[in-house]
């Protein structure tokens, strides 16, 4: 199975995934990033932290950026829409 690295980037600092993990394809690696993002949101909400600025940068085994997953992509669509409405002036 191909190796993917799920680096985390919040614009100011990058947390490297040094080991990587094997997934059948990019879609599976994206699913892992989305599931991880939900887990990170759950922990962040308990600590009253906003981690919306973070994103997963999925890098394939040969070092190419294969995709990015925003933390917000992991939230339920209806919640995201409500948040966007509330943030309008």
């Amino acid at each position: 199975m191909p190796l993917f690295f799920l680096h985390i980037d919040d614009g100011t600092q990058k947390i490297e995934d040094e080991e990587g993990s094997e997934h059948p394809d990019l879609e599976a690696a994206r699913e892992e990033a989305l599931g991880s993002a939900r887990q990170l949101w759950a922990a962040a909400i308990l600590k009253q932290q906003d981690i919306g600025a973070r994103r997963f940068v999925i890098v394939s085994g040969n070092g190419d950026i294969a995709d990015t997953v925003e933390m917000d992509d992991a939230l339920p669509r209806s919640l995201l829409d409500r948040l966007k409405m509330q943030s309008r002036p």
Partner: protein, 232 residues
């Protein structure tokens, strides 16, 4: 032969001599499965070094660590409790060495030597305290606090400060996805408690790590020392 295993070491010399002829030296490579779910347990192991994980299974290939045993304990506890198998899976997650004894012989020795049985039953009490605090920690603590606790428990069971573990293993230990481990390690590293490089975690500030781990760490360790003796 001086034992590094804390249980064997805690036995009086006469009881050590009872066990000694039955003990076989055993290499315990990382990944070695010592106990498989619902299969008869054939041996009991007394690790001298390394770490084993006791995993509660959720289906065939998923699970979470519910217990940890290294030189502090033994593997194959059901045989001590008049059971021949367990739903748990037990494997080595850090390479070590140890002694094993045939399961039937072990039971015969226990039947004939109440002192050995008593000491090992006290270990069961200490171990069960450890698992209850794992439950407490899983329910009440953040991933960072649980990771700190786990690193301390691991550190207790070895001589040096370098813990050879991958993020994958830690994710299984803590029941979280790998990126949660990566971030938690990054946080502890940011606080200066540890240094994490690929596959290796170095404990830098043990006392601070203990303070950070909070209520999850300390009670089971004190219980072990009360019942058995020195843990570290």
């Amino acid at each position: 032969m001086t034992f590094n295993n804390r249980l064997l070491r805690a036995l009086p010399p006469a009881d050590q001599n009872v066990l000694r002829p039955h003990l076989r030296w055993s290499e315990l490579e990382r990944g070695t499965v010592l106990v498989s779910p619902d299969e008869p347990i054939t041996h009991v192991w007394f690790p001298e070094s390394g770490l084993s994980s006791i995993i509660a299974m959720a289906g065939n290939d998923q699970g979470i660590e519910v217990g940890l045993a290294g030189r502090d304990g033994l593997i194959g506890m059901p045989l001590l409790l008049d059971a021949d198998r367990t739903p748990h899976r037990i494997f080595m997650q850090v390479t070590g060495v140890g002694y094993n004894i045939d399961g039937d012989l072990f039971r015969t020795v226990l039947d004939e030597h109440a002192g050995i049985r008593k000491l090992l039953l006290r270990y069961v009490q200490a171990y069960s305290t450890q698992t209850t605090y794992t439950a407490l920690s899983n329910a009440m603590h953040t991933v960072e606090e649980r990771l700190a606790r786990w690193l301390l428990m691991s550190h207790d069971r070895q001589d040096d400060d370098e813990i050879p573990l991958t993020h994958d293993f830690l994710a299984l230990m803590l029941g979280v996805r790998r990126p949660s481990v990566t971030i938690a390690l990054h946080s502890l590293e940011g606080l200066g408690f540890i240094k994490a490089t690929r596959g290796l975690i170095v404990v830098r500030k043990r006392e601070e790590l203990e303070e950070f781990a909070g209520a999850g760490y300390g009670v089971p360790e004190a219980e072990y020392e009360r019942l058995i003796g020195q843990l570290r």
